[in-house]
């Protein structure tokens, strides 16, 4: 049987060797996380404190103040009464169906994740745009981050940091950051060469070019990236709930295991409502701030 087996069966690695590899890698990583887990955890402590504080703030503030503040922000961003009305109605419905607290939790984690993704993503995108080599290194990494099943990179994160908010935030950011990086890169690369040349011709240095020309002109594209990042972060909420992130994801998870269709639907709809609000607001804001760019469109 040994002679012809490689023709019919893939000549795979010896089972013992494979187990050996797995064991070595696993134990190496386990040792690493035992050794440095504490240090890394303490590194994230400030973030955790902030997360907890922000979540508490949203939950303890009376619901009507939250609605007023959110509506005010929405109005400032997009100046549309219709959208504001939609926001008020959906929040009232969410509260009425008993999902207020979970919604606040989700909102807090999404806000923090989005901000972090922007703060990390835009500089990475700028680096990518400034050098072709950086682009060729970072692009495949982004591909991996977007296609690798979330559960796979949850494992090492959980091993390292345990279950809780921080691993959740890390998982959400890994999943949600690629669009903002990619579109920052793209936006800067698409900036009109002549405008950039004009800046150079007037003696602008690279910082003046970046902040005076490249970033402002790339803004519409970057805003599209931010919008995508928000959407992906929201869609990650359910998966993040598997590692202990509280919020709208947990009831959904509960409904899957217990087959509570209505509970799942309500919480799912609440996520959708949040997504629509975030999406419309960020898009309306982007449009309003870019109204002078590109053609005679003054809408």
């Amino acid at each position: 049987m040994a002679e012809s087996s490689w023709l019919t069966k893939f000549p795979q690695m010896d089972r013992a060797d494979l187990t050996g590899i797995r064991k070595t890698l696993d134990s190496a990583y386990r040792d690493f996380s035992r050794e440095y887990g504490e240090t890394i955890e303490s590194f994230f402590d400030p973030l955790l404190t902030f997360l907890v504080w922000f979540e508490k703030l949203l939950i303890t503030t009376p619901w009507w103040i939250v609605i007023i503040v959110v509506t005010a922000i929405v109005y400032m961003a997009c100046r549309s009464w219709k959208l504001c009305l939609g926001v008020v109605i959906s929040f009232l419905a969410i509260g009425y169906f008993g999902m207020w607290e979970n919604t606040m939790r989700t909102m807090s984690i999404i806000t923090v994740c989005t901000l972090l993704a922007i703060v990390l993503g835009i500089p990475i995108g700028i680096i990518m745009a400034s050098s072709n080599r950086a682009q060729s290194i970072i692009t495949p990494m982004l591909d991996v981050m977007q296609t690798m099943p979330a559960f796979v990179y949850l494992i090492p994160v959980v091993m390292l940091l345990g279950i809780g908010k921080i691993p959740g935030v890390i998982a959400v950011i890994i999943y949600a950051i690629p669009p903002v990086i990619r579109l920052t890169n793209l936006g800067i690369r698409l900036v009109d060469k002549e405008v950039l040349e004009a800046a150079t011709a007037y003696g602008a240095n690279s910082t003046q070019r970046l902040f005076g020309v490249q970033l402002p002109l790339a803004m519409p594209t970057i805003m599209a990236g931010i919008n995508q990042t928000i959407m992906m972060a929201l869609s990650m909420v359910v998966i993040a709930s598997m590692i202990g992130v509280k919020g709208l994801g947990q009831p959904v998870l509960k409904s899957i295991t217990n087959q509570y269709f209505t509970l799942g639907l309500f919480n799912g709809l609440a996520i959708v409502a949040l997504a629509i609000i975030f999406d419309r607001v960020s898009q309306a804001y982007a449009k309003r701030s870019q109204r002078h760019m590109g053609g005679m469109d003054n809408a």
Binding site: V195, T200, G203, Q208, L217
Partner: protein, 402 residues
């Protein structure tokens, strides 16, 4: 000859992966096509030598692909040459460190672009003051200056608009105002008017000439349009496939094209709008200086014509005809040649465009005298010479022109 402001010597530009490596081939005199076929490198500019004087409008003309846009970007080093020297006064521009180069660009040169290169996210007045903001001038000063320049180019009241709200011509005026606002000595204009429609273009050309009369900048102007080049250029350089074909004043180019290529260009030019009276006038053969009728009549016989231009200490006075003189001579030969024997005939200025004197030349009975500002008789313009210049080319090359 004034000291040149900008000097370019032996400038080569090769595009490709390793431009330096093929310079020996270029120097060996291989052609652009050969180099492209053998190495995949494109020879963009080949052995460019030129000097640009202070205060002139120097036009670089060529068709697309001739390397003119590449060439203009060498002046402020938006593109670095593969080989060659670029000098501004005594500064070797090629040796400037990055920081120095930035300073050089900020204060010495400004640029106007074909597709305007305005910043869509800034208002018109912010765009105009861009150069000053890069220099670090404070906001109040720079906005005030920008406003002045906007007025100069005729866009007062548009300060708070965004570029996308303006028409093409207006946008380019903003571009021009931006370039002037830094008060740089040199203005680089890269096909600045090419994207505009013909009417606006000639309006802008007029405005540029008018501004230049006041400001006396050194302007390097790129164009693919010979009419435009002839209209605004003090000197013109013609570029073909990265090589300089001819350099000279507009009339030199028009009347003595260096080769078939230039000649083919020149053929379609509207000469009436490109040449001045000075370029085509003949030396003044009909000058008559005399005190008495008799003397005048004798002079008249020498010049073999039936009229002449009477010139005294005060310059050109008018036309005298043989008939009048002969009549007067019968009365009294030694009678003084005075105004009553003269016919009035307005002279034309040597600097006038041919176009503007066509009607006078055709209507006048005699050739028109060419009179300079001080009243001196400089030459004469006959219907014949006008017709020859505006007519078929072949005849002109035989004519002696000054």
């Amino acid at each position: 000859m004034p000291k040149p402001l900008i000097q370019i010597e032996g400038l080569y530009k090769v595009f490709g992966k390793n431009p330096k490596s093929i310079m020996p081939m270029v120097h060996a005199g291989k052609s652009k096509d050969q180099i492209l076929a053998e190495t995949g490198h494109t020879l963009g500019l080949k052995d460019i030598n030129m000097t640009i004087n202070k205060g002139e409008i120097f036009v670089i003309m060529g068709l697309s692909g001739s390397g003119k846009s590449t060439l203009i970007r060498h002046f402020n080093r938006l593109i670095d040459p593969t080989e060659g020297i670029i000098k501004f006064e005594d500064i070797d521009v090629m040796k400037l460190a990055p920081k120095e180069l930035e300073q050089f660009r900020r204060y010495k040169m400004s640029m106007v672009f074909q597709r305007f290169g305005l910043m869509p996210h800034r208002t018109v007045v912010e765009n105009v003051s861009y150069g000053l903001s890069i220099q670090g001038v404070n906001k109040i000063t720079r906005l005030a200056k920008a406003k002045e320049w906007l007025e100069t180019v005729g866009l007062a009241g548009y300060e708070a608009q965004y570029p996308s709200q303006l028409s093409g011509g207006q946008q380019q005026r903003v571009g021009l105002a931006r370039a002037l606002c830094t008060n740089a000595e040199i203005l680089l204009m890269d096909e600045a008017f090419s994207a505009l429609d013909p009417l606006i273009r000639s309006e802008m050309q007029d405005q540029l000439i008018e501004l230049q009369e006041k400001l006396h900048k050194t302007i390097i102007f790129i164009t693919h349009d010979l009419d435009e080049a002839l209209r605004i250029g003090d000197r013109i350089a013609i570029l073909k496939d990265g090589e300089l074909v001819q350099q000279g004043t507009p009339d030199q180019i028009l009347l003595n094209p260096a080769n078939d290529y230039v000649e083919a260009f020149v053929k379609d030019v509207n000469r009436a709008r490109a040449l001045t009276v000075e370029n085509v006038m003949k030396p003044p053969a009909r000058r008559i200086t005399a005190d008495t009728i008799g003397e005048a009549l004798e002079k008249m016989k020498i010049i073999k014509g039936d009229y002449g231009y009477y010139v005294n200490d005060k310059g050109y006075q008018g036309v005298v005809t043989q008939d009048t003189l002969e009549e007067a001579c019968c009365e009294n030969e030694s009678q003084k040649l005075s105004e009553k024997f003269l016919e009035e005939l307005a002279g034309i200025a040597p600097g006038a465009m041919l176009e503007s004197v066509i009607p006078e030349t055709l209507e006048a009975e005699y050739s028109l005298p060419v009179i300079d500002k001080d009243g001196n008789l400089k030459g004469e313009l006959s219907r014949r010479s006008l017709a020859e210049v505006l007519g078929d080319r072949e005849q002109i090359s035989e004519e002696e022109t000054t």
